[in-house]
Amino acid sequence: MEGGAADDALLVSLRSAVDAAPDDVPLRLHLAALLLERDRRDEAVTHIAAALQREPTSVQALALMRQAMSVEPPPVTSPPPRTAADDDVLAGLDEQLRDVVPPMFVEGEDEPEGDAHDVEVSNVRLGDVGGMEQVKERLEAAFLAPMRNPELRRLYGKSLRGGLLLYGPPGCGKTFLARATAGELGARFLAVSLADILDMYIGQSERNVHELFETARRNSPCLLFLDEVDALGQRRTNLRNSAMRGTVNQLLTELDSVKSDNEGVFVLAATNQPWDVDTALRRPGRFDRMLLVAPPDQTAREAIFRYHLSERPVANVDLRKLAKLTDGFSGADVAHVCDSAAERALIEASRSGSVRMIEMRDLEAAAKEVKPSTGPWFETARNFVMFANESGTYDDLLAYMRSRRLM
């Protein structure tokens, strides 16, 4: 307690000193460092920014700014969990009141009130994603850091408009990464699948899109994840149906947030076919940043193998060796390898009549049988990289494909 009071006194005197000598950068940075130690990030950021204004190349200031940007998100405040005792009490009250006070109005068999879309709380964090360090780093820098630091965002005049488009071959974990991003932000997760998108094209399509964004706003902070966004944001020139064009236009309006406030709504989209996404959707303020989610690297494959084998009877499995054997496999392919290996063991067990564990030989044989499903995707991607990359949209894909000798 005494220490805390002394600290406060130190901060007060340092603030006075900074006010007296606003151009003293070391003094400002010292104050900012102390503020960061005490978790007063917003004030610290203000001082670091002021220091950077005076000395834009200051290494210490930049380091402090990075530190301020990479802070953990505030814990999600949620109501205390209901206990069995609470339930008992409520159930008892219901029981007692049922006969005494009849309901005022009786509704028909309409759908219950509430959001048409399922909003869930994501418990997954980026730390739960095995490997894929590069993707996680880019996700952190391009999306998470600005989202977590409202003060910094205001300082640099960065609006929350716009989102990030994840792209890559199917089955490589784009949805899982989106879920983990929601977990990192402490936000609710609202996923829109292809089936939802197709439903939007039926009936009042514009209203359906608007309702989707309204649901996200009502559940703010919320990460709205548009899976297979190429279906929703299909190039309007490809669409024959005018109602579908209206849907795309409405999506653009919602993203631009001219009429509505998108504060607290983070939009993330994923697609296997980024080339089919309407260019209007990729303009600044919309999905202006793209992130390649390539097939999992060796560490990630190890983690995926571990996950899929954890509930199965396995013996002497060398995960590292398996991961090396399955270079270029997607997460879905790895899962398929595990299923095939289990199937082999099962068939052998049923033939011999004696149960045995899934062994390394089963997994190795399965890995040889399963062909990476990402091949056709890279074949198509190759043509787009070669012919339609004037603006450098697919530069990261080009670099990846060159590094893997896929070009």
Binding site: I197, Y201, I202, Q234, N238, N241, M244, N383, F387, E390
Partner: protein
Amino acid sequence: MTVDPAAVAVSRAEAALDVGRPQEALRLLAPAFASGDSPSRAWCIAALAHLNLGDAHRAFEAAGAATTANPEGEWGHRLIAVSLGRLGRWQEAMHAALRARDLAPHVWQTHLQVSRVARALDDHQTAWQAALEAVRLGPDSADTHLNVGACALKSGDRAQAERAFREALRIDPNNVGARNELARLDLSGKQLGAAATGFFEAARMDPREEAARYNLDLTLRLFLARIAYVVMIGGWIGLQVGRGVGSGELNPSGARVGALIALVAAPTLGYYRYRKSVVGMSPQVRRYLMDRLRSLRLGICIAPLVVALILLVAVLPAPASAAVGLLGAAFFCALVARLMLWAERRWHRRSGKKLRS
């Protein structure tokens, strides 16, 4: 108000097809078929989905079911014609296309289909008449103009073909077919650079379009073959002069002049001939073509051409005793390069045939 699940399923499937998900469309159609009273439209969408998936047999079956459900619906008959065309059964396709046209003579798509089938059957008159009727009924469709261009090309009217392709491009600037056909006109007019740029543009519009890429690669091969030809002819002339044809004595100075002609004059003339094409080539096309040149197969073909050029350079300072021999070797290498490029191009054309089929 009750909602018909079959109608909802069909609407969903249509939407799925429109956003490029034929597999999903087929899956979504299941409730429509399960109702037992499958509407003709559902079968038509199924046929279209199968066509998009490249399964003409199943498309034919689905289109047949559509016509059974509604014999008076033109769409089903038209889809039968498309499916049979894909299967190479053109006579039967014509029968179905004519039936569709008779059912809906006011629909331009029916005339277009008749024209396409007639073109495949080399029935130029029917193809022309149907093509013009399709344009009359659907003047704002790029497809109708594209078809007129194709008919004109088949009957050798290049000017009309070009006009029609340009009109198709004006209506739909992203029409890959029209862009590709215009580039093909450039290719047949020996404008290799313009053709390459056109094919590249078509491939850029839709990189999944294999025809444009195939044609672009073909253009590169033709260009290389011409270079080899020019070097070969230059070398042959030099060799004749160097061997002293007529006088019977070796003429090293003549050989050097011949080498110089092959090295400088012939490429200069070639450049003069193709200057517009080469200068007009966009940097992306050049980069792509350079990338292709690095491929193993083309690399092997080009190697003797490069050797021929090196030998031609070596002729200039070479002693009199070696000049004629070097020139002869250069001529031989250019000849080998020309033959290898010819063989490689034939191999490349085979993959083009597969593409057309």
